[in-house]
């Protein structure tokens, strides 16, 4: 069994700002295999975006990531010197952010931005790189790619910019694509396009994907596996099949049930989860979901359930529904 592409143990992210210190990510352990598409789901405030940023090494000012181990493609991201990691990260990882309107430098042409990474790290000549960029844009369904390369970001629509970011990442043939809410700011039709492109990238190039989204339906369409985050931790780690059929954690169940589909009775109120998610500033004893949980027991409020492997191969952090299969993760 080959080593996973990405392996993280006990990742914590601390933010120090004007409001003091906050810990939005409180202990996340996960692994991603080559070619896997892993979704990260949760409401805002669950810490999913910061987890993704921490993996990418792009935390904002005042953010610090700590972990027992953070390994990507055999490299220890925490302990190896930055100089050596530069190429590994610059070409091995590609990132697509949430807001396409601001992710591209308004003062530079599209082409010149696209070829930067590949020229810096792979030493391609300018014309070679531009040709690569051109075919990248074409693969993303952007017409007249040659002309587009010479344009500026403000001449592109939101959907086009997002696809450009994807194409840009694709150029270095990354092993891992981290996409943080890549479709949230886009129209529904464009959302489909972008998700299809990510899926295609995965199939053709074997790129692993970490897809962060609050939209659990979207994740269930394209992912192999989904991590559910709540209160800065992972509460469930399960395959998509299991997610659709039999999620174990009450929060996951609630998330899945909250999505109306064509069969939903329109005369009944929408099923929503009562209460609101915890803030990163809250200190919580016991399970973070306890206050909103329909099957809460006394134990849940005093002891925090650990994320443990279950009989069916998934991980779960819940006292009540756990099959108690044992060892730690």
């Amino acid at each position: 069994m080959s080593a996973p592409l990405l392996e993280i143990e006990n990742l914590r992210v601390t933010l120090t700002g004007s409001a003091g210190r906050v810990r939005p990510v409180r202990g996340v352990s996960l692994s991603v295999e080559s070619g896997e598409i892993v979704g990260v789901a949760g409401e805002s405030g669950s810490g999913k975006t910061l987890t993704a940023l921490a993996i990418a090494g792009l935390l904002p000012r005042g953010g610090v990531a700590e972990a027992e181990s953070l390994c990507f493609d055999g490299h220890d991201l925490l302990r190896e010197p930055e100089g050596e990691l530069r190429t590994v990260l610059g070409t091995g990882m590609a990132i697509v952010f949430q807001d396409p309107m601001s992710s591209l430098n308004p003062a530079r042409r599209i082409g010149s931005q696209m070829i930067e990474a590949v020229r810096t790290h792979k030493g391609l000549s300018r014309s070679e790189a531009l040709k690569l960029a051109e075919s990248g844009l074409e693969a993303m369904g952007i017409d007249e790619p040659k002309r587009r390369l010479r344009q500026y970001p403000h001449e592109f629509s939101g959907g086009m910019r997002q696809r450009t970011m994807l194409a840009m990442g694709l150029m270095s043939e990354p092993k891992l694509l981290i996409a943080d809410e890549p479709t949230t700011a886009l129209d529904v039709t464009v959302q489909e396009q972008v998700i299809d492109l990510i899926s295609a990238m995965n199939q053709r190039l074997g790129t692993a994907v970490i897809l962060v989204s609050h939209n659990i339906t979207l994740l269930s369409e394209v992912c192999d596996r989904v991590l559910i985050m709540y209160g800065g931790r992972i509460v469930e780690d399960l395959t998509v099949e299991r997610l659709i059929e039999s999620p174990a954690h009450p929060y996951t169940q609630a998330l899945v049930n909250a999505v109306p589909d064509l069969q939903t009775d329109r005369d009944q109120p929408l099923s929503a989860i009562e209460g609101s998610p915890p803030q990163p500033t809250d200190q919580i004893e016991g399970c973070a979901f306890a206050d909103r949980c329909p099957i809460v027991e006394d134990r849940c409020r005093s002891d925090r359930p650990l994320l443990e492997w279950q009989a069916g191969g998934q991980r779960l952090a819940c006292w009540v529904n756990s099959s108690r299969a044992g060892s730690v993760s």
């Binding site: 000012r61 005042g62 990691l85 952010f97 591209l104 003062a107 500026y152």
Partner: protein, 315 residues
């Protein structure tokens, strides 16, 4: 040429022409808006009626307004600004011999602002990143003080220290190029401080932007990151004040030339004002004003070059 560029340039040019026209009209009106009788002012309080009449004839004040304006305009086109009341030499001659020292100052001053002020601001922004409060306060404080120093104070102190005490640089005149260094520093200190503050703020602003995060994700070298992504965006802020800085330089030159006894346009202007030598005053104000307006136009065009979004829908 890109049609948007053409449109922009056309509009900018029209604006330039309009402002220059306004300047011409304003300087023409100068003589005529002056309270009191300019002819008498020229001839002198003691002069008799004949002398005053002669002065009036010479000034052309007896002709109707539009004729005077016509004369003025045709004179301008021929680059004839009239003759100095004091020395009877053509104003153009006065200007051409004094413009050198002033232009030297303006050029040096601008160089200081651009090549010291802007990098200082960029550096300041880059260093302020880690929330280094002390550095921020220090930078703000230092540049704040620099921005408050009046030109003549800086000039005087500089002259005292470097010219008189240390004797490194000449103290007066415009004989050598080195004579321009101290006065140029004197007029550049304030605008430079303002520019570096602005650039620092913008740099910090830019560093927070999402596209910098995208650039960071490509793991570029710091030089590439700052040079290609941060600087161009922060520079636009500096450019937007470049025109103002130039105007401040010109104003400062007028003052500092007195301190350093530089025979430039400033000295001539002040002298002209003191003795009511209107043709000289008109001519110099027109020249300086035109220079400022043209520089502003160039700055605008450069700004459009750096930030292509300004080409979209200008007023």
């Amino acid at each position: 040429m890109n049609p948007k560029w053409r449109h922009f340039l056309l509009r900018r040019l029209t604006r330039l022409v309009v402002v220059l026209a306004g300047l011409v009209i304003a300087t023409f009106a100068l003589i005529h808006v002056v309270p009191g009788d300019p002819a008498r002012a020229i001839a002198g309080a003691q002069a008799d009626q004949n002398a005053v009449e002669r002065a009036r004839e010479e000034l052309g004040l007896n002709d109707p307004a539009y004729v005077q304006f016509g004369d003025y305009l045709s004179g301008l086109v021929r680059l004839d600004f009239g003759d100095s009341f004091e020395t009877d030499e053509p104003v153009t001659k006065v200007i051409s011999r004094s413009i050198g020292p002033t232009a030297e100052l303006a050029a040096f001053g601008m160089a200081i602002i651009l090549f010291v002020g802007i990098p200082l601001g960029l550096l300041g922004g880059a260093l302020s990143q880690e929330g280094n409060r002390k550095f921020e306060l220090g930078f703000s404080g230092l540049t704040g003080i620099m921005a408050a120093l009046p030109d003549y104070l800086t000039a005087t102190v500089l002259a005292l220290v470097f010219a008189v005490s240390l004797q490194w640089l000449p103290v007066a005149g415009a004989a050598t190029l080195s004579a321009a260094i101290l006065p140029a520093i004197a007029i550049a200190v304030r605008p430079m401080a303002m520019v570096s503050r602005l650039v620092r703020i913008r740099t910090l602003d830019v560093l927070e932007q999402d596209y910098i995060r995208s650039a960071r994700s490509k793991r570029l070298s710091p030089r590439a990151l700052y040079g290609r992504h941060v600087a161009p965006n922060a520079l636009a802020a500096a450019l937007s004040v470049a025109g103002i800085a130039f105007a401040a330089l010109v104003g400062g030159a007028v003052i500092v030339e007195q301190v350093f006894a530089r025979p430039g346009l400033g000295t001539e202007l002040v002298q002209g004002l003191l003795v009511k030598n209107y043709p000289v005053v008109q001519g110099i104000i027109l020249t300086l004003g035109a220079a400022i307006v043209i520089v502003n136009a160039i700055v605008d065009a450069t700004l459009a070059l750096v930030d292509p979004r300004t080409l979209e829908g200008e007023l």
